[in-house]
C-alpha cells in the first residue's frame, strides 16, 4: 500500500483486520520513513530488527485469531520507558549504556496488545525540558517548518515522540507528562497527545523525574488514535503504589461527538499578559465550535494559575533531586573513577548529567535542605493543595475546561531561550493540571501566522479521560486540521 503512512491508527487497525495490509508491510513502511526522516533525530535508538520480528509475530497471531488492541501497530517508545534488552537512556549520558533487564508495565501492556516497537524516541534529559534540547543525544526537530525555513523545536520533554508521529516515522508513540511534556510537544508538532489522570497508567519501569507528577500517556494523529492507545496502556498496577485501582472504561465508545448541555469552563486567568493575538483568537474559535455543538461556555476563575509554575519548580526539582540520587555509578550507568567514593560520585554525576538536570538537582536539594524545607517545599505543597481544590471547586460547575496549550507556537531551535526561567514559562498552561493530577489533552486546532500548528487543551475531571476525548473529538471535527 503506497499510502500506508497516511493511515490513522484506527484506519490501520481496520486495514490489518481486512487483510489489506500486514503488520510487516506497515512496519516496513515505517522503518523506511524512520530512515527518511532521520535528520529530525526523533529516535535515540532505532530497533528495526526488533520491529520486524514483532510484526511477524503479530501477523502470526492475527492469522491465529489472537488480536490485541494494538495488534500490528508500529509505535515509538519514549526513551524513558525501560525496555528489556533495548538500551534505555532517558536522554542522558549517565545511562548511555544502560540496557534494562526488565520491561516497564506500560510497554509490557502495549506489546501484549500487539504493538510493534520501532525504537526509542528522543527526549529532554530525564524529561527535564520544554524543547528537547537538553537531550545528550542531540536536538530533535519538528517536521513543521515556517516560512523562515528554520528548524523548530518539537517541544519537550517528549519531543522525539511528538516529532515522530508528526513526521510519520511512528504511527503512535508513548510519552510522559510531568508538567506538560506530552501536551506542549503535541501542540508544537500539530498532533494529538493525552496525559491521563495521575494514577491511571503505571509508572513502574518509567525512569522517574518527579514521582508525584509523572504520568505516562501517548501521542497519535487523532483523538480516536489516542483513545485506542491509552486503552492499551491504562490500568491498575499493583507494582505502582500510586496507580489507582479503578476500572478503565471503553474510551473509544465514549467518543460520541455529543456534548449537548455539557458545561465547558473558560478560566479567565489563562489570558496572560503578552499572549499573541492568534492564540487568543484560536481559543475563542474553540469556544465557538463547542458552543455550536451544543455545549454551554462558562466563565470560571482559577486564581492561583500564576502560582502554578513557581509551585511546580519547587516540587518537581525536589523530587527529582532525590529520584536521581540513584545514578551514582555503582550498579548501572556511567562511572567516572575518582579518588574515593564521594569523588567517584561527584565526578560520575557531574559529568553524567547535563546542565539543566544539574540545575534542577541543585534547586531540589536546596529547597529540601535544613532551614528551607518549610519555606519552600512545604509551602509549595500547601499551594499545590489549594490549586487542586480550586480545580475541584470549578468542576462542581463545569464538565471540562478549555484553554490554549501553549502561549506561543514552536520557537526555532536556534532562538530557544537560554535563560531557564524564560524556558519554564512555556509550561504556564499545562503545569496547573499536572499539579492537580488532572487528565489533559492537546489537539491541533489551527496554524499560526507563520504556518505553525497551535494547540488547544482540554482538561477533565479526575479519571474522566473519556469526557476529555469526547470534547476534543468535537473540536477536532470542527477544526479540520490538515496534518502533514
Amino acid at each position: 500500500m503506497s499510502n500506508a503512512l497516511d493511515l490513522t491508527l484506527a484506519d490501520a487497525l481496520s486495514a490489518l483486520e481486512k487483510k489489506e495490509l500486514s503488520s510487516v508491510e506497515l512496519t516496513e513502511a515505517y522503518i523506511a520513513q524512520m530512515d527518511a526522516t532521520r535528520d529530525l533525530n526523533a529516535y535515540i535508538t532505532e530497533t528495526p530488527d526488533i520491529a520486524l520480528d514483532m510484526a511477524k509475530a503479530s501477523d502470526a497471531r492475527r492469522a491465529a485469531g489472537d488480536v490485541g488492541l494494538m495488534e500490528g501497530v508500529p509505535v515509538g517508545i519514549k526513551d524513558l520507558f525501560c525496555t528489556e534488552g533495548t538500551r534505555t537512556t532517558a536522554g542522558s549520558h549517565i545511562l548511555e549504556n544502560f540496557v534494562p533487564t526488565y520491561e516497564s508495565t506500560v510497554t509490557t501492556k502495549l506489546f501484549s496488545q500487539g504493538a510493534v516497537m520501532l525504537g526509542k524516541t528522543n527526549l529532554d534529559e530525564f524529561a527535564m525540558g520544554s524543547s528537547n534540547q537538553t537531550s545528550y543525544y542531540g536536538d530533535c526537530a519538528s517536521p513543521w517548518k515556517a516560512a523562515d525555513g528554520k528548524a523548530r523545536t518539537p517541544g519537550g520533554s517528549s519531543g522525539g515522540s511528538a516529532s515522530a508521529v508528526a513526521a510519520k516515522s511512528a504511527l503512535a508513540t508513548t510519552g510522559t507528562d510531568t508538567g506538560g511534556s506530552i501536551r506542549q510537544p503535541a501542540a508544537f508538532c500539530g498532533i494529538t497527545g493525552i496525559k491521563p489522570t495521575y494514577g491511571r497508567c503505571s509508572r513502574w519501569g518509567v525512569v522517574a523525574f518527579a514521582s508525584s507528577l509523572d504520568q505516562p500517556g501517548c501521542f497519535g494523529r487523532t483523538v480516536e488514535d489516542n483513545a485506542i492507545m491509552l486503552q492499551a496502556m491504562a490500568g491498575y498496577d499493583p507494582k505502582d503504589s500510586t496507580s489507582i485501582d479503578r476500572a478503565v472504561p471503553d474510551y473509544r465508545a465514549q467518543i460520541t461527538g455529543d456534548i449537548k448541555g455539557k458545561k465547558i469552563g473558560i478560566p479567565k486567568e489563562y489570558r496572560v499578559d503578552g499572549m499573541p493575538q492568534e492564540i487568543e483568537k484560536l481559543w475563542q474559535q474553540g469556544m465557538d465550535w463547542l458552543r455550536d455543538a451544543g455545549a454551554e461556555i462558562v466563565d470560571i476563575s482559577l486564581p492561583l494559575t500564576d502560582k502554578a509554575l513557581p509551585t511546580y519548580y519547587i516540587i518537581a526539582p525536589a523530587e527529582a533531586s532525590s529520584n536521581l540520587a540513584r545514578y551514582d555509578g555503582v550498579r548501572y550507568g556511567l562511572r567516572v573513577e575518582g579518588a574515593d567514593l564521594d569523588d567517584m560520585y561527584a565526578k560520575t554525576r557531574g559529568q553524567g548529567f547535563g546542565e539543566e538536570v544539574k540545575r534542577r538537582i541543585m534547586i531540589g536539594t536546596y529547597v529540601l535542605s535544613a532551614g528551607y524545607y518549610d519555606a519552600y517545599y512545604n509551602k509549595a505543597r500547601r499551594v499545590r493543595k489549594m490549586i487542586l481544590n480550586e480545580f475541584l471547586d470549578v468542576y462542581n460547575q463545569v464538565d471540562a475546561i478549555l484553554t490554549p496549550t501553549t502561549p506561543s507556537a514552536a520557537f526555532t531551535l536556534d532562538d530557544a531561550p537560554t535563560d531557564p526561567v524564560t524556558m519554564y514559562l512555556n509550561d504556564v498552561f499545562t503545569v496547573p493540571a499536572s499539579l492537580a493530577g488532572l487528565p489533559g489533552l492537546s489537539l491541533p486546532a489551527g496554524l499560526s501566522s507563520e504556518g505553525l500548528p497551535l494547540g488547544l487543551q482540554v482538561l477533565g475531571k479526575p479519571f474522566e479521560e473519556g469526557e476529555v476525548l469526547n470534547v476534543a473529538s468535537v473540536l477536532e471535527a470542527a477544526a479540520g486540521f490538515q496534518r502533514l
Binding site: N97, F98, V99, T101, Y102, G199, S212, P238, S241, T242, I244, D245, D306, K307, P310, Y313, I314, S321, A325, D328, V330, R331, Y332, G333, R335, G338, D340, L341, D342, D343, M344, Y345, A346, K347, R349, G350, Q351, F353, K358, R359, M362, I363, T365, Y366, V367, Y376, K379, A380, R381, R382, R384, K385, M386, L388, P420, V421, Y424, A436, G437, P462
Partner: protein, 95 residues
C-alpha cells in the same frame, strides 16, 4: 533570593555533583534567578492548609508477605560498571 558561591558549593556537595569552578558563577546566577522566580509563592496565604501528600485521595495499597521477587543476581548485576563475582565493587570505603 540570591544565593552565593559558597551555598552552591555546599549544595553541590550534598548533591554529589562536581561543578567546575568556571561554571560556578553561572550556576549561582541561574539558581538565584530560579529561587527568585519561585518566591512568588510568598504572596500566597496558605496558612491552615495541610501540605499535599498525594494528589489522589487514596492510601497505600498493602502487599501480602510473599517471596515472589529477587533471586536473579545476574539481572541486577548486568549493568554494573565494576562487578567482582556477584558483588558490586566501589572505591574502598573508610568508615
Amino acid at each position: 533570593m540570591a544565593i552565593d558561591r559558597d551555598t552552591v558549593t555546599r549544595v553541590a556537595f550534598l548533591s554529589r555533583l562536581e561543578i567546575e569552578d568556571a561554571q560556578k558563577d553561572a550556576m549561582t546566577h541561574d539558581l538565584s534567578n530560579i529561587l527568585t522566580f519561585v518566591e512568588a509563592l510568598n504572596d500566597v496565604d496558605a496558612s491552615g492548609v495541610e501540605p499535599m501528600t498525594s494528589v489522589v485521595e487514596a492510601y497505600a495499597p498493602l502487599r501480602e508477605d510473599q517471596v515472589n521477587d529477587g533471586g536473579y543476581p545476574d539481572k541486577v548485576l548486568a549493568n554494573a560498571p565494576d562487578r567482582v563475582q556477584d558483588f558490586y565493587a566501589v572505591p574502598k570505603v573508610v568508615e
